[in-house]
Symmetry: C2
């Protein structure tokens, strides 16, 4: 059975999954690189960027679970780019260069659709104005029986959790206090009731939590 | 040098250290016992209540660090009791029976002072209307060179952290989403810069974080 999964989704102690003030230079706003520091040193991240080496311990085990059996991704528009409102041009093709790391169809949720964008490596970006449920139906269709990943950001993940559409959620708790930004947990009281929760803290100091649907 | 310490202070994933709706029957409001479940089974908690047995693993190691070298406690009025505003009587003597587990002077922060309350076992409750800094000066005096514990609740701990008066903070992250209540982390952006942070997740599934002043 095809599952809906979230991976490598980092939040601060105060529940922010991104900072305030996203821009072209600061995809995570004032959070900078702090939420993803644990990830940058992993073999998984390095190989996504064509580099050798990297850690192969607990953090990498979680990081690497991101890819296998995924047939499509759904992401919010703010993960795709820092623009807001109607597109002033369609030159922006995401943060990831000519060959993004997804290698599947990607559905970008936006109130401002634009034409489908075909990129290298099997990356096809569809821009759709749809509810979580409708978007998931389209993504499942495109995934050909494989799983669908919800790629973020926090507003998108929260909406899919609210709609009870997530089967597996991997959260990385980073022991910092961001103070401001976009929160993951709002409106999700007693979320844990629907999931089996496991946690581990490797030497990097982050805590990996997995929520797996009961 | 005398230190100021917080121990066994549990927060939810969304940063709430107590729920909404505190009452005589529900000291933690709608959170019920969920934030302190990890603690109830420890040998430390059981022995506080005159009982034998209990776990002696990681959770108990942290739990037991609560007592040694403490010469006084400061707590907020909402930790002392569920009443609000002026005292209608002075019959209420806390949640802990005739012989509370503190066995030191205890300073209760309140805008409504009342006479000092002497109880069994060296428990003396002073009710003071004071700033964190003033309260700490009084507690240090009473502690006779030993450490001062800030006992909670979240508003009190947050105020002492804001005033940069805490040397050691032990937070227990409980993997639940409370949704509402009183938050610990508000106004504490970049708290981690002032501390060395360590984390561990034992089999109980909570994560113990210690913040030790750099």
């Amino acid at each position: 059975m095809s599952k809906v999964r979230v991976h490598n989704f980092a939040v601060s102690l105060d529940g922010f999954a991104t900072g305030e003030g996203q821009s072209l230079e600061t995809p995570f706003g004032h959070a900078g690189g702090r939420l993803m520091q644990w990830f940058l040193g992993t073999r998984t991240f390095r190989s996504m960027n064509g580099k050798d080496g990297g850690s192969e311990g607990v953090d990498d085990a979680y990081a690497s679970a991101w890819g296998p059996r995924i047939g499509a991704e759904i992401m919010g528009r703010n993960k795709f780019g820092p623009q807001r409102g109607p597109w002033t041009d369609e030159e922006w093709k995401g943060w990831w260069g000519d060959n993004p790391p997804f290698h599947t169809p990607v559905f970008v949720l936006t109130h401002h659709p634009r034409p489908t964008l075909e990129m290298e490596g099997g990356n096809t970006f569809h821009f759709i104005d749809a509810s979580p449920k409708e978007a998931l139906a389209q993504a499942r269709e495109a995934a050909g029986g494989l799983d669908v990943r919800i790629g973020g950001g926090p507003t998108t993940v929260r909406q899919f959790l609210e709609a009870d559409l997530i089967d597996h959620l991997h959260v990385v708790l980073v022991p910092i206090v961001l103070g401001r930004g976009v929160r993951l947990w709002d409106g999700l009281e007693s979320l844990e009731d629907r999931f089996t929760v496991e946690s581990v803290t490797p030497p990097s100091g982050v805590t990996h939590l997995t929520f797996t649907r009961k």
